[in-house]
């Protein structure tokens, strides 16, 4: 980093009176280290990789690259330092409680990482001859069996790459099933409280999206839903437990009503962590549900993926599942692809991705599942729900909890901005939490609650960790109610103050232009 204060520190700057980062020559403050872009510190001739052989002359004629690419290189030592410094500007579950509602930021066990790196999983090619990758198929099959049993469903499609890709898989199964019945139904019903991926997915597949009304208690309005059902409705997409943190008590009745008019039930499984090992969606009439392995089954979020979104399917939708998939024959496993689908799986809607799905996430998820077992997974759901209710009841006296009166929550506690001082918002509370050393909760979602704050502590937090978080959030809530102006400019102690998102969108700078 070039110096921010080229003159360096001078006695008259009076450090004792409150040093800011312009006080130092570098802009650093002890362990808070600024880091320039690789384009500012790297060179086109610098490399951190040595090769065993010299590069031979190429003979590619007119296709040969002649113009510079403009890619900076760093030595290995500089590279390690660059990314280590960057990493320290991130909050992460390894650093503390990460109560992002509907995201299930639980501890990521390191055994998962070790197993995923075994050469028999990490260093195998997706198109190797089948007899040389039986272990990889075994993992896919074993995980599939667990997911089927845990959900009480008929089968599972393993290839979807993330939750939204899984939603698409389920919706395409519904579309294919309707086509097989010779019906052209155009409408998918989605509650207003749904994740944005639900309506986006349905629209992507060519459906028209209509809202399902909610009750004042934060659940699907069954009577209103029934009134809307008809021969044009292909299905519903329902999140259960829902994004208000509540279990849809009438789920079975909803499913029965949808089935009665020939529609299908898609369940968004983002919140499966609340019920895993204790409730099976298959018992509730669900036809398809994606499971975010990066939520319930602890595969790391990695700063925005990779995810993995296997989709469990009912017997009605299973014939339409995508290719490829693995079947077991005695001790051997076989991959069903385009060539052999004709005999075994003729109604498949096709392929969603180049290969078999997120193998690296399957190994991690299976490792997690085997570590917990059936008893441990049930305990996961119970502790996740216990922790969320503990947060809800510990804070409802200082923060408005719109659905608290209607009973316990599931895995996440929902609050609103009602009662904050004039001019203070959910955003201020979120930014205040940053100064207290926490990642904020999910904010302004679900859309059905004004200034929503959705807190999902997960089961991997201790009581002591929860008590400290509750104390911090209580303190910030009181500051917001009392109109503490310092909260309006929080965070004060993060690597950056509030960032100008309007400027970023109005004059986009999306790549280094130096």
């Amino acid at each position: 980093m070039t110096a921010l204060n080229r003159a360096g520190w001078r006695p008259e700057m009076n450090v004792a009176g409150g040093a800011d980062d312009s006080t130092t020559f570098t802009g650093n403050r002890a362990l808070m280290l600024e880091e320039a872009l690789i384009f500012e510190i790297g060179g086109s001739e610098t490399t951190g990789v040595d090769f065993d052989e010299a590069a031979p002359a190429a003979d590619l004629g007119a296709l040969a690259r002649t113009a510079p690419i403009g890619l900076p290189g760093l030595s290995e030592s500089e590279t390690v330092r660059h990314y280590t410094r960057l990493s320290r500007q991130n909050y992460a579950i390894d650093l503390g409680l990460f109560p992002l509602g509907s995201c299930t930021m639980k501890h990521n066990p390191r055994l998962n990482e070790k197993v995923a790196r075994m050469p028999g999983f990490a260093d195998v090619h997706p198109l190797q001859p089948q007899e040389t990758v039986q272990g990889a198929y075994a993992v896919i099959h074993e995980l599939a069996e667990w997911l089927i049993t845990l959900t009480g469903m008929h089968s599972v499609a393993m290839s979807p790459k993330a939750g939204a890709h899984g939603e698409l898989c389920g919706i395409l199964c519904i579309k294919a099933a309707l086509e097989a019945r010779g019906e052209d139904r155009r409408v998918i019903l989605v509650p207003e409280s749904a994740h944005g991926t639900n309506p986006a997915t349905a629209a992507f597949a060519g459906f028209t999206v209509e809202d399902i009304p909610a009750t004042e208690a934060g659940r699907v309005n069954l009577e209103a839903l029934k009134a809307r059902l008809g021969p044009d409705v292909a299905g519903v997409m329902i999140t259960n437990p829902n994004t208000c943190g509540l279990f849809e008590r009438e789920m079975k009745a909803i499913s029965d009503a949808v089935h009665a008019v020939g529609g299908y039930v898609y369940c968004d499984g983002a919140n499966f962590n609340a019920i895993v090992g204790r409730v099976r969606p298959g018992d509730l009439g669900v036809d398809a549900m994606h499971i975010n392995l990066h939520k319930t089954f602890s595969t790391p979020h990695g700063g925005g993926g990779p995810g993995s979104g296997p989709v469990v399917l009912s017997a009605a939708l299973a014939p339409f599942a995508p290719l490829p998939f693995v079947t077991k024959h005695g001790d051997d496993f076989r991959l069903i692809e385009e060539e052999n689908a004709g005999e075994d799986h003729p109604q498949t809607f096709g392929r969603m991705t180049a290969f078999h799905g997120q193998m690296g996430m399957f190994t991690r998820a299976l490792t997690y599942i085997l570590s917990h077992g059936a008893d441990g997974l049930k305990q996961v759901a119970e502790d996740a729900v216990l922790n969320a209710n503990y947060v809800l009841r510990s804070l409802e006296s200082v923060l408005d909890a719109p659905f608290a009166a209607s009973g316990p929550c599931m895995h996440e506690a929902l609050f609103s901005d009602k009662g904050l001082a004039e001019g203070f918002s959910t955003l201020d509370i979120a930014k205040g939490l940053i100064d207290e050393g926490y990642h904020p909760m999910t904010v302004y979602f679900p859309l059905v609650v004004h200034g929503a704050m959705l807190v999902e502590p997960t089961e991997t937090e201790s009581k002591a960790a929860l008590d400290q978080f509750i104390g911090a959030l209580r303190s910030i809530a009181l500051r917001a109610k009392n109109g503490d102006p310092a909260l309006k400019t929080a965070p004060h102690f993060a690597p950056r103050a509030r960032l100008d998102e309007t400027l970023a969108a109005r004059k986009p700078i999306l790549a280094w232009e130096g």
Binding site: V124, M251, K252, P306, S308, G360, I434, A497, A505, A511
Partner: protein, 452 residues
């Protein structure tokens, strides 16, 4: 249970705070008939770290890892040496266990990395801008076709026969439901590409032409004329790159006029991983940026005037626009993008060029050696690190016989195009810097024996 910190005393105290008599009281909204009495029957109980590692290790040993012997597979996934520091750095908990950077004040590490990644990808592919990643190359390819429809308001996409057949399958699947019309087909065993014919097929209905570079048979060609033909007809040229290392040596699609360039970034930093997770690259000209799918990271300033980075232009995205979004994608492939970016930073321009040249040199050496096997010839008149061998017999059984000799000898066209007997003698062979002279000799000797 080692991952669950609550003690039974904690649980009792917490239930008392909540005012519940038992944990069952918290599940009161779940109908009794849907609740299970105890742990789900027929499944094992919790297990120690040692026991789980033993079980998974046994499964891992049932596969033949690529590094255990001669290995020549490519066709969309390439085995390159990944420097040790890449895997160390992506396992920093602050990267590994962070979420999508929704709170930029405490996510500058991920955001700056994404800005650097976007910049590296845009430069490598020769375009103005790139996004923060897609799931993989095949889904990025499909998203590009849909984006071309949005931009041109036309629905007919011409797919080169050299496009990876799995990418074509993904596009076919989606097109069935979206109203896109695809014109596609299997490749012919020609030395050159079908691009000249594609240029002649463009008409006023054409939204885009999709070409792969290098293509599924390893062929490379100049797309300048095709780009001109697209531009003249108001269609977009989409280039698909499944082996980005190639672009250290050959011209980028953007340089030759491609409007949208997508790719599979797995070659750098990510490893084979049996097909996933990988990292989709997605790049285009600036004028199309508001039609892009996926996350974008942009530069801005904070309240104190310091440079910082945020996710931006999110009014394209599902969490804002819901059913009117450009895509339903949410989680993408952040950690794989980090691995890609670190590997690219380690290489730098000089290292990438050297790596690419070594790949090309080794592939040429292998092609020459394998062409000496009686009855075997090389199809391509040009290639980077992958080429197609024509065998005197169907390649698929040959692959299995080679595997018995512990040689993983490429991907047969019979596997990729099972319904096309005309292609069955083709074998796609990839040769990277990880292949040794001894590997090449062993492959040639084994192939000679199998074909004898």
């Amino acid at each position: 249970m080692r991952y669950l910190p609550l003690t039974s005393d904690d649980r009792t105290a917490m239930l008392a705070t909540i005012g519940a008599a038992s944990i069952d009281d918290l599940f009161v909204d779940v109908p009794a008939e849907a609740q299970l009495d105890g742990p789900i029957a027929g499944l094992p109980m919790h297990a120690s770290e040692l026991a789980v590692e033993r079980h998974m290790g046994a499964l891992a040993r049932r596969s033949r890892a690529a590094g255990e012997g001669p290995f020549f597979l490519g066709a969309g996934a390439y085995r390159h040496h990944v420097p040790a520091s890449v895997d160390h750095l992506i396992q920093r908990g602050e990267f590994l266990t962070a979420y999508t950077p929704y709170q930029p004040e405490i996510a500058q590490g991920t955001l700056q990395m994404l800005f650097e990644f976007q910049s590296q990808v845009a430069r490598l592919l020769g375009t103005d801008v790139a996004n923060a990643s897609m799931y993989d190359g095949s889904t990025a390819c499909w998203e590009a076709i849909v984006m071309a429809r949005r931009i041109t308001k036309r629905a007919k996409a011409l797919l080169s026969t050299g496009l990876h057949p799995h990418y074509r399958s993904v596009a076919r699947t989606m097109a069935k439901y979206t109203g896109d019309v695809l014109v596609d087909g299997d490749p012919s065993l020609d030395a050159g590409t079908d691009w000249a014919a594609l240029a002649d097929s463009i008409d006023k209905e054409t939204s885009c032409v999709v070409v792969q570079y290098p293509d599924i048979l390893g062929r490379i060609d100049d797309m300048t004329k095709l780009a001109e033909a697209c531009q003249a007809a108001g269609a977009l040229l989409i280039a698909v790159v499944t082996e980005p290392v190639a672009l250290g040596l050959i011209k980028s699609p953007g340089e030759m006029g491609a409007d949208i360039v997508v790719g599979e970034g797995q070659s750098l930093g990510v490893g084979l991983q049996f097909g996933g997770p990988y990292v989709g690259l997605f790049a285009c000209k600036t004028k199309y940026v508001r039609q892009m799918p996926g996350r974008l990271c942009g530069e801005t300033v904070d309240a104190n005037g310091k440079r910082g980075f945020v996710l931006t232009l999110s009014t394209r995205e599902q969490h804002i626009r819901r059913e009117k979004a450009t895509s339903n994608i949410c989680t993408n492939s952040g950690l794989c993008a980090l691995a890609f970016s670190i590997h690219m930073t380690l290489l730098g321009e000089a290292g990438l060029r050297q790596l690419a040249a070594i790949n090309h040199g080794r592939a040429k050496a292998a092609a020459a050696e394998l062409a000496k096997v009686p009855g075997v010839s090389v199809l391509n008149n040009s290639f980077f690190n992958e080429f197609t061998l024509l065998l005197p017999t169907a390649a698929r059984p040959v692959i299995h016989k080679l595997a018995e000799k512990d040689i993983l000898g490429g991907v047969s066209l019979g596997r990729l195009y099972p319904d096309n007997a005309g292609l069955e003698n083709g074998l796609v062979v990839a040769v990277t810097e990880t292949v040794t002279d001894a590997d090449i000799s062993a492959f040639a000797a084994a192939l000679k024996e199998v074909l004898a």
